[in-house]
């Protein structure tokens, strides 16, 4: 009896441990594969060609700068949409809404987060892009702006649910302390609750950015996919092509082992590094905040 119990304990512990380690293993394998397929770019394709501004793989032009700037401008636009909207919603849900409203809104926002991105892309093509074309008098409605607005919509639920959790975790006593001092509701939110939840809110923003930069389907459908260098603010109103959309659109038709194939993996590597950078930035913010709290409390 005693012995079989010990044995079961042993197996279960090992299984749990193994599933934990497997996550690390998978990330390592993915990274290894990306690097193995991506690195040959450096000797197969010209570096000058890579850094040029022309993406036309059929004629061996592999300039990835337009793709990087395309991704960045769409993500930047999406951040500008998602951060104010997301944080505003989170503050409303956690601080202002009456209970019945909160119980409707929270699941609704989470539902929005589960919406397949292809559905949003569909709405973008049918509704948003014609509207923008007419409203802003553009030659086409398939622009970086269209992508930004939709990606913003995709990132909002992420920002809302993480930021709302952070605000919710601020002890009620903080708020009551401020109220008892004669703070108004807004003063309490802005000067007590918000600073106390700061690291969680920053994490929410970072995760939102991460969500936006990796999104593929929607941007492929609505940004027009023209690999043009987007450096000016005006580029927001013209078509762009993102890194994710390029990989998704071209990977199916490329000859395995060709230069084009390796360059696509190289783009994947760049994307991987960017989103890793965002994640590291996010976690270092949280880590710093935690360390400060520990130092103060000890």
């Amino acid at each position: 009896m005693e012995k079989s119990l010990n044995w079961r304990e042993f197996v279960i512990t090992r299984l749990v441990k193994a599933s934990g380690y497997s996550a690390i293993l998978f990330v390592a394998l993915i990274f290894f594969f990306l690097v193995r397929e991506g690195l040959p770019t450096f000797w197969k394709a010209d570096i000058t060609s890579l850094l040029s501004t022309r993406w036309y793989p059929i004629e061996e032009y592999y300039g990835i700068l337009p793709l990087i700037t395309g991704s960045l401008i769409v993500t930047l636009g999406a951040t500008l949409v998602a951060v104010p909207l997301g944080i505003g919603t989170a503050v409303y849900i956690s601080e202002i809404a009456p209970r019945w409203m909160r119980e409707i809104l929270k699941p609704l926002v989470e539902l929005l987060g589960g919406l397949p991105s292809v559905v949003l892309g569909f709405l973008g093509i049918l509704l948003l892009s014609p509207f923008l074309r007419v409203f802003l008098d553009l030659p086409t409605g398939l622009t970086a702006l269209t992508g930004s607005l939709l990606l913003g919509g995709i990132a909002v639920p992420t920002v809302v649910s993480v930021a709302e959790d952070a605000l919710d975790a601020v002890p009620r006593a903080y708020r009551e302390g401020a109220w008892a001092l004669g703070a108004t509701r807004w003063q309490t939110i802005w000067r007590v609750t918000f600073p106390a939840a700061r690291s969680g809110v920053l994490t929410a923003i970072m995760l939102g950015i991460g969500r936006a930069i990796g999104e593929t389907m929607t941007v492929m459908m609505v940004t027009g996919n023209a690999p043009v260098l987007a450096l000016k603010l005006g580029s927001l109103f013209s078509p762009v092509r993102t890194m994710t959309a390029t990989i998704a659109a071209e990977m199916g038709e490329v000859a395995s082992g060709s230069t084009h194939y390796h360059v696509l993996f190289f783009i994947g590597m760049v994307l991987f590094l960017i989103s890793m950078g965002v994640n590291i930035a996010a976690s270092s913010v949280v880590f710093r905040a935690k360390k400060r709290a520990e130092r103060i409390l000890s």
């Binding site: 008892a180 001092l181 000067r191 007590v192």
Partner: protein, 251 residues
């Protein structure tokens, strides 16, 4: 003189847990009035009615009046923000804000729109001295407040409400998490403060109630059982239930 007159106050929370039933009570100016009794008796609820902190909780029904200086503060037209500046409150767990010691003290004044540095500095020193904390922290006012010990934090919270120059101070089990020495300091500070302020204290033990009370009110399950001068209430209670509680027969 009576500072606060509570007339037939009843209150029920939305979840029906704790409530007040027909409380009538006159609270004296410049004295320590102690509200005591077992948990769930409505003491905290009553405190929270006095500065309308219950506005932010879901209350099912309330009736009755609370007159402060003759004015009914439960009137919907009352400026709640101004009311809370007039009535300071200290909670059971010290709620220091994530700011420096100085920042905690000037916070309420800054919210009220006070910008003059000299006024703020003056308030910092005055309130810290009143809360018997000045000696311990005057050389490190810019350190984070959370680095203070529990007892110091609680006196900082007291000082923070004093900085607003309130007329009434509410304390909800302010020493429940403190060691005897810190508790002693807080109690001594209260004895000094009652010369200037009207103090209403929910103590965390009967002993503390007996030590600090000028006037005492015994609450049991939402009802006010007995009210009188501290001396007589703790030595010769008129009600049987008060006697049983004070002598430790239940609770």
């Amino acid at each position: 003189m009576d500072k606060i007159i509570i007339e037939n106050l009843s209150l029920q929370y939305a979840d029906g847990i704790e409530s007040l039933r027909g409380i009538s009570l006159n609270i004296r100016e410049k004295a320590v009035t102690v509200l005591f009794g077992p948990a769930g008796g409505g003491k905290s609820t009553l405190l929270r009615c006095l500065n309308r902190l219950n506005d932010l909780t879901e209350v099912k029904a309330s009736s009755g009046k609370i007159l402060i200086d003759g004015k009914n503060i439960l009137d919907p037209d009352v400026d709640v923000i101004a009311l809370r500046r007039k009535i300071g409150m200290v909670f059971a767990r010290p709620v220091v804000l994530p700011l420096s010691i100085r920042g905690n003290l000037t916070y309420g004044l800054e919210l009220a729109g006070e910008k003059r540095r000299s006024k703020l500095e003056e308030a910092v020193e005055r309130s810290l001295k009143l809360a018997a904390l000045w000696e311990e922290v005057n050389d490190r006012l810019d350190d984070p407040a959370i680095a203070l010990s529990g007892g110091q934090q609680q006196r900082l919270c007291l000082a923070r409400s004093l900085a607003l120059q309130p007329e009434i101070i509410l304390l909800d089990e302010p020493t429940s998490g403190l060691d005897p020495i810190s508790t002693g300091k807080v109690e001594a500070a209260l004895q000094e403060l009652k010369k200037e302020y009207t103090i209403i204290l929910v103590p965390h033990s009967v002993q503390q109630a007996a030590r600090t009370a000028d006037y005492a009110a015994f609450f049991l399950q939402g009802e006010l059982i007995e009210y009188g001068e501290g001396q007589s209430l703790f030595t010769a209670p008129r009600q049987k239930r008060t006697e049983e509680y004070v002598t430790g027969r239940f609770g």
